[in-house]
Symmetry: C5
Subunit: 247 residues, 5 copies
């Protein structure tokens, strides 16, 4: 067990109780559009049984402890399994500190010999077709990606996902961004699409059907809600129709 505390004087701390295997791939998910990043990475961690090895803290993160079944958990955590490292965040990162967080992460990735970075996020499009767009730090990486990935023709990625990919490029670490088309609500379906790309890319033995079930359950709830609202509006209109005209 090799403890690694990075930058004790910095504004962002990374503390890990175990070193990842050299040459690991790190998969990163922060909450964002459709919560695609955090749902995807959380699912991977559960299904592939990653082990928590550390966490990231900062004076600039919101003062908040998360709780699950009565136990406190740190909002940004580091996990590892074989040749994989995962970084999972339950809190969003404010724009003003994205640069700092990304720089600290990249420093640590260099220190622990990470070979490849994959950032998973959602992207809101006008007409979602459940596509997964890809963007990479070096052109050659596009050829290695599964054909189901669509290279994003033009655009920009803002926020922590953008900052991490930018710092990866600057520091010559292979970086891949997977942007799953999503909507403005927690979106397990888009997360499943993103994981399917990873499944092909890394030949993982992983079943995303649970995510589709979650998606159907959410969608069914939203459908019922929409019907209720519609019914309610009809009722409301009917009620209005029987109101006296001098109302």
């Amino acid at each position: 067990m090799t403890p690694a505390v990075l930058q004790p004087e910095s504004d962002v701390f990374i503390q890990a109780e175990e070193m990842p295997s050299p040459g690991s791939t790190v998969i990163i998910g922060f909450p964002g559009s459709g919560l695609v990043g955090s749902i995807s990475v959380s699912y991977l961690i559960d299904v592939l049984e990653f082990k928590q090895i550390g966490y990231i803290t900062s004076r600039f993160f919101p003062p908040m402890a998360l709780m699950s079944n009565g136990v406190i958990s740190v909002p940004v955590r580091i996990y590892a399994k074989d040749k994989f490292v995962a970084i999972l965040a339950d809190i969003p990162i404010q724009p003003a500190i994205c640069y700092e967080v990304a720089k600290t992460l990249i420093q640590w990735f260099t220190l622990v010999s990470i070979q490849e970075i994959i950032v998973i996020a959602g992207i809101i499009t006008n007409d979602s077709e459940s596509r997964v767009f890809a963007t990479v730090t070096e052109k050659e990486l596009l050829e290695k990606l599964p054909e189901t990935c669509v290279p994003l023709p033009i655009g920009n990625i803002s926020g922590i996902a953008g900052s991490i990919l930018l710092e990866a490029k600057i520091n010559k670490i292979q970086g891949i961004g997977l942007l799953a088309e999503t909507i403005n609500a927690p979106d397990p379906r888009a997360s499943a699409s993103a994981i399917s790309v990873l499944k092909t890319y890394f030949s993982l033995d992983i079943d995303v059907s649970a995510l589709f079930e979650q998606a159907e359950s959410i969608e069914s709830q939203m459908h019922s809600l929409a019907e209720e609202v519609s019914q309610h509006n009809t009722d409301d209109m009917q009620k209005r129709e029987i109101l006296p005209m001098y109302g």
Copy 2:
């Protein structure tokens, strides 16, 4: 007498004239929902006759001196009694400085060999049943807590209470959060519930009836007020009824 001044260069100062007994439990109450934290800890200090041993100051605390019977008192104070330390705050801590305050406290707790941290706070629920929820830094602690405590299934604790529990977990100090269901008003009844948990947990000889009396007095005042308002509204409605219809 061993003076301890922590971090003279920091933004948060802890100054104590006496060292607590090694292995002490620290009980912490800041004002917050229902003022449960500060009412509970203040009551404990009074009833168990703790002695003030220090205080905490910061350039980020509001510039304010408190007065009681003509004597100035420091707004955040440290008390001790046997194997207990208590931290009582009369001022709230702004979110921007929670991280700093929590980190400084944990450093001091480590320095003076605190074994366990208990943070008392209020939690507002839709349908209060005077429950006390518990959240802990390590799962094993849940089993040691009295059965009257309900492990909080899911949620988050924001503010200084959350920051302290998070830092406790990160620094591997046992931490317990007791969150008493409360309302948006000073709430001695919820404070009594929280203290009852401590009473069982530590086998303390402590009587919370004074808190129930305070609660009844406050509730009776609020009841009278509500009746007055209701009476006033009725009067008002009666007056309106005799207004000319062309008003």
Copy 3:
């Protein structure tokens, strides 16, 4: 002549051309409610013929030079006379810098062996009876104060006066706050009440009648103004009465 420049690297500078006598009492007045602090200390300085020995500057004070009879004066000044030091401010201190100013003052008081601090300020009450409330850093001081002083039962002092008393208590320097009941206007009458307490406490030979004259002059002006306004309103109402009804 012993020059003393405190903290050349700090954000608050104290520069004094003469050292006060060791064991001096410092009397402090900042503007605030009723301007009681600055009116009182300014009057003491004039009547007892204190000599200016230094000043306090800061990058956080407003960029402003005061002028009197064509001559520039520094807004926060230090005076001395026998066993007394006086600090008189013509500008208010913003809350964000109160902690810093108070800390720097207390450091200097320690350096020049000040024995006792008296802060004069105004306090606005619902029903002013020209009382002077007292608050002290150590209970024993209450007994030394004249009987005309009322120990303030409960409350808080915010702003620079509160910060100075807090730092005095923390640094174990005797501190007394004299809070004269006042109104929201320059109030020489309340200032006279505060000075009367000092007169008894220090057996000073000082006449406050000039302050009462100032008070009567201000009150007479305000009375005339009130009558004019009232007359004007009556005129205005009479004018309205002769307006044509189709206005």
Copy 4:
């Protein structure tokens, strides 16, 4: 290959993998009015086939990665070709950091022996005549400029273009600002005017016709849009005319 990292402790980083030829001219384009600066420099880079040699990053730049054909690119980049260096920005620079960015650029220009700086920008005038105004750091430079340039009689340049020219003057580096008259929309026509000045000044073999085609395409789109809007308004007015007069 000579790596040059400037100011690793600063808030603005310049990192270049190759040193420009000593005595180079640097041509700088930031987005701004009509995007004239970035359109012009981007066109030069494409047509003259500059090679990317570095980039500029800062904690104060917005957290954003740009993407083109699936590949991430750094928002502020350095290019070189023969005796030319080009700096091209895809993001605007906030006023608060212009001073810092300009100072860091000038330090680097001095380090790599840049001889001359040309900043291209747009200027919005009431009555655009496609003029290119010039402003220089030393009067003698005006005589070297093509006659098509109009020395700007009076005015000021704010933002990053102004800051760079100011620092050039202070550091005695030859600086030229070319301000092409433009409108509040991406303006390839104004960019072509600016490039035409460079063409004459440096006897470059460069064809700006592609920019004119872009301009015509944009203008044609805007013309169609204007007609549609106008048609729509007429429709709207006709509809209103048939509304009953008692509306």
Copy 5:
């Protein structure tokens, strides 16, 4: 030629290529009420043919380059002529940085043995009589001033002019503030009044008639504008009179 760069690590830089003669008087003009400070000092520089010897820059000044006849100029400049130094600013100084700028100026004045400081500014009064008010750092200076100057009985000077005079007083450098009565518009007439005081004080051979001509030209323009507005209003009223009464 003696280069003098003050405080390379500071937030305010003074860079001068020549040292002023020891014992010089510095005359300072910043824009402010009626632009009296900058108009006066600019006029002195032109008429007495001062030579530019340096400039002042800061990260806190607005990012802006000034241009005149196609040539960039630094917004805050230092000039010298015989026993005079002049500081002329074309940009206002924000309150938050006045302290820093004043302190840096006074440090430089001490370094180059400036003997006397004269700050020229405008003051808006209810009933302007073209007076020039004076305020000084030491009472004795009032007697040396021309009789046309009126010592300002009471008041305060805020902003950079106030900060400079305050720092002058604190550092025991002779300081004079000349405040010419002015209006809320560029005011060459008030500037002429201020220069007339300097003319007498230093027995300068200087003609202010050009300023009076500027003043008449401005006043004539404003008179025409006022007549036009008035005529326009009359037209407007006449138009309204012929509107149908049922409008």
